[in-house]
Symmetry: D2
Subunit: 362 residues, 4 copies
């Protein structure tokens, strides 16, 4: 029995409320959204360049990496980009028949070379960290990402490596469901000096999992003020605060007690870390709000911010951090579909509701 | 500093992923949505009929009720509907000067008389329960609801009664932000007898807070299977399961450990009640999915379902409960706006993060 | 490196506080306690009678049951007691060569026949429920209990059935560590009628896991007052309240959010069930306190109490429930020792901290 | 209605289990314990020296401090010790009539001067931190501590300052209930170098609240192995681990999700900080066990340990931390009694179960 077409969006609410009540139309605030359940990848033109991201210093990934790159270069005639650090790996240098491939690879250095508009397709090998790394390399539009795990399923790495050729071909032919994983745009605004001379440019970083503010090495509790759309919402006294995407709700946030949010729900999760207050439960707010985080006026110590676990830096009195949803999601290719991939990873990665079945008591 | 217009919806994601990747367009699955932040009430024609819902058997509400109804009838010349049970209240019968009003009231009996298309506007007096009651009276389109608390702020009752005339006038003139509180459409399908004769019609009930399935009076744990879009997701062993709207996330679900979700996030919350498994954390899924709940094949006992705390009934082997988001939200009028009303009620109703400020240790 | 003899009791605290401060001696309040780590079973005289408790209606237990009873009767010449209901089981009636054993068994009916001083030793077959049943049969002194699981380890059933003969012989020879599992003495005092005529005798029940007070079939929240040593401590608004032993902390209490307490810690755990208040965290109080539970004066509904999941009954206004630690523990025989048995069962029964080891992110 | 004398210890369990079962006596493992409920302070000889501990750099404490010290010196002729840093406070230097008192004070420097056997009585002014400081000054026997809060009640500071003279007199006359707050003896064993030359002496520190092991400034999860009485119990992957006394259960541990334990329960609480595993619930073990904490063999980073928030230091591979209950508790003087003081502080400091009373729904 089915009532309507399968969908992830809720049905459009009826906008007549009794005989007289209506929603006031405001065309400036209307947007068109495609149902996440129907999001599929297509190619405007055939992808030629592929970036392969490999976990470094992990011997178990070496063979699959060589197999994959060899196949992409020789069989598929694609232009393959690899991070220079990957080729510096001594394990790889000692690897026998890699030289014919090596000389045809394009290399780049993260943080130095700009990849914008150079990459059509990304393949990740080896753990959720590779996808976080891909996200950090593309601070604006991100090419479609296909992520293989080698070992056990990750939240962000749904594909098994066996039979990788067929699976990649399938994606290149455009047969793939896509999860658009929202990212958070984080802007750090530094205090301007009093004479106004030392005005610093804001720094912008996009995160896929979360931005974390904590007390760093200080033995004292953090004192952090949280604002939402300009309004002071609450103050955090504790180890810190996590602002995460739905994707990040199953990472650090879940360890700090958050509920888990499917990546297609348009929302931002706010989770305190070891709050001093017993009643400080995590909250989920609409994806469009803008959060601002700053030291409370009575805070004694700086707070420390990190972005997907990186770029750790101190924020002082007068500095502030703005967070909202970015227009640049990570288009992550599904192995099955958005729903199945997510529930499989909950079970595999978090043992969600895995239990011994209790026999009933007589 | 502002980056974009204030909004609750996330910005439309860029749909180009690198030089070649695109979202495949599927116009059948595109919908237009107005940003919740811009939802305001307007009147297609002036409201003439108003339903006043009053908590019964609460002496403290008597005077405000009489004041309100008197003003609506005599000063505003509106047609006022009141539930018959309210007028049966002996306290009201003994109330002095109510007779001139009483004879002009329209009455009805819940469950018997049909109010469809008869009510332009609803005013609630006295607690979150009155709004749940309003929701139950309108199983399809719901007229705009303005809810007054008498005493302390409720989640669903943002207006103070002082100065009620100005506040009602303000709403009648169309100056009001609106929260569209999504409801869940719950359908109970009973097992058909084997000869197929006893085919029962499905029952449909809309809930504003939650539908709960529990073990009822049985001393044994529930054994419940949960399906999402037809796929078996998990089995629940414990006291039961709560499927709630974002509105309901701050009701029973929060007591069972859920995070709190702002009512404008399009989502459904699934929360186990005292699960046998330590790792059964609550989850938040997209508003458009369809959940199905049924007894596990090895369950010994029936499960009991209730809808916003009412209509309690047993479900047996072979029966099932389908839940998805309804097209009929409750249009609840904001006292300030969607964000401020919500955070104020978190603090007031749940003491969210209310704490003694700890002095730092020297 | 060792500082002192292995022990579970804390070392006696030094009772001199600086040059002048002392504890005032009060010999009336001094007790001698043996360290739980040294508790071993010994037999004052050789055990002759053994009660075998078998889960009813479970076909998988039939063969082990027959093997065990046969061996006890024929090889060990022990007098074996079995509950009459066990022999009524049709599965057993159809079992071939059981008749020679059956005619030598002693039977009794729970709730009718008194077993006091008749049983030297108890053997349980089949799940934590059998031990709860053993506890309910002996409301005062309990003979030593040896509990076999058939399938997966339970909290209360540490022995594997393979090689049961050697294991039972070992225990009968007095080589066994013992966990004294404290029980709670629960007394229900009914309201006396006003003329004083209808004075009801208090009912006393000992529980091994927990006594639960909940709202029963009522849709309204419970309103329960909790007193400790006569002082009003707090009021519970929610689904109910669990008062549990350390043994029971891993049963219903853990599902309701409690921390897990080793059975040798002398304590009582108080855990709310789905409390309306976000800050109502479970508490652990000393084993010697007396708790009193009663309906709050403004409660609308009765509350329902159950004892280890049984004897469910309503408590009305004026009734009260007193709970304290009983002098009659259940002496439960360890398979290894108190510490190893407990941690093994946490892992096996609750998957405590069982997880996928996350590879570090590069 | 009372069944037995008010007590905090559980009654001695009956040690006969049916007609034959007994506990094997082991006099070497028997200890005498006085019921915590009867613990009262007495003085072997009248206290003459008093240490006054004052929070530094807090102007609000200045006047009470001067009043108290003036009264102790001039009216009670006691020898008053004060930390030198307190007298260095410029605020105090500017304080008018303090010179007559100042010249009669004894001063010392923490970490340099030894106070053993010099102090009969301790008075703390100003917050839980002062008691932690007192604890750190006395690493063996601690004189009785009377702690005043100035402002709101703390967990460790039950006395109000109003009328301090009568309250101090009352204690000096020996009328006071005493909570013996257990401390944890923490021993850090450093790895010995391979040639055995660089053998380091173990460091021992007593903590009143907790010892914390965490990942420090590292962005990677901690990997910590936990042993109990020599047996490997579990591994922690997360932000860290808290081992706390019952006193400390209401400090950092409660923020990390622990249940709250009354200080008279002889137990040690083990609480993970943001564990990667959903099922890693806190546990409560008997006070006499010995825990050992070490880096897991596959840990990449050092772990950092701190003791009551101080003495932060790194532990490397091969180092280990041993924790057990010390024989030297902190004898903390009750304002009322052990039970009332604790529940009052739960309400005041943690808003435990403080809530808006929900009106029932009609």
């Amino acid at each position: 029995m089915r009532w309507r077409t399968r969908s992830l969006n809720a049905p459009s609410p009826i906008q007549q409320f009794g005989p007289c009540g209506r929603i006031m139309k405001n065309s400036a605030m209307v947007m068109q959204i495609q149902d996440p359940a129907s999001q599929r990848l297509t190619w405007y033109k055939p992808p030629l360049t592929v970036l392969v991201i490999k976990k470094v210093h992990d011997a178990t990934i070496l063979v699959p990496f060589v197999q994959l790159v060899h196949w992409l270069v020789h069989d598929k005639s694609m232009v393959v980009f690899v991070e220079a650090a990957v080729l510096d790996d001594t394990l790889l240098k000692e690897y026998g028949d890699f030289s014919s491939v090596r000389e045809r690879l394009m290399t780049f250095r993260a943080g130095t070379d700009d990849l914008t508009d150079k990459i059509d397709f990304i393949i990740c090998l080896g753990g959720d960290g590779t996808l976080l790394h891909a996200s950090s390399l593309f601070q604006q539009s991100v090419p479609p990402v296909m992520a293989f795990h080698l070992g056990s399923l990750g939240f962000l790495t749904p594909f098994e490596f066996n039979n990788f050729q067929d699976q990649v071909m399938n994606v290149l032919e455009g047969h793939a469901a896509l999860t658009l994983r929202s990212r958070l745009q984080c802007v750090v605004l530094r205090k301007t000096t009093e004479d106004g001379k030392d005005k610093k440019k804001p720094t912008t970083i996009l995160v896929l999992n979360e931005v974390v503010v904590d007390r760093g090495p200080s033995p004292y509790l953090s004192n952090i003020d949280l604002f939402l759309d300009g309004k002071h919402i609450t103050s955090v006294q504790g180890d810190g605060l996590i602002v995460s995407t739905p994707t990040g709700s199953t990472a650090y946030a879940v360890a700090a007690g958050a509920s888990m949010i499917h990546p297609s729900v348009p929302a931002i999760m706010v989770t305190p870390i070891c709050p001093h207050s017993l009643s400080f439960r995590p909250i989920v707010v609409p994806a469009g709000v803008e959060l601002k985080i700053a030291l409370s006026p009575d805070a004694r110590n700086a707070m420390w911010v990190s972005f997907d676990g990186r770029n750790r830096q101190a924020l002082q009195h007068g500095d502030s951090l703005y967070v909202t949803t970015s227009v640049y999601p990570v288009p992550s290719i599904c192995a099955q579909d958005q729903i199945s991939d997510w529930f499989d990873s909950l079970g595999e990665c978090l043992h969600w509701n895995v239990r011994k079945k209790q026999k009933q008591i007589d």
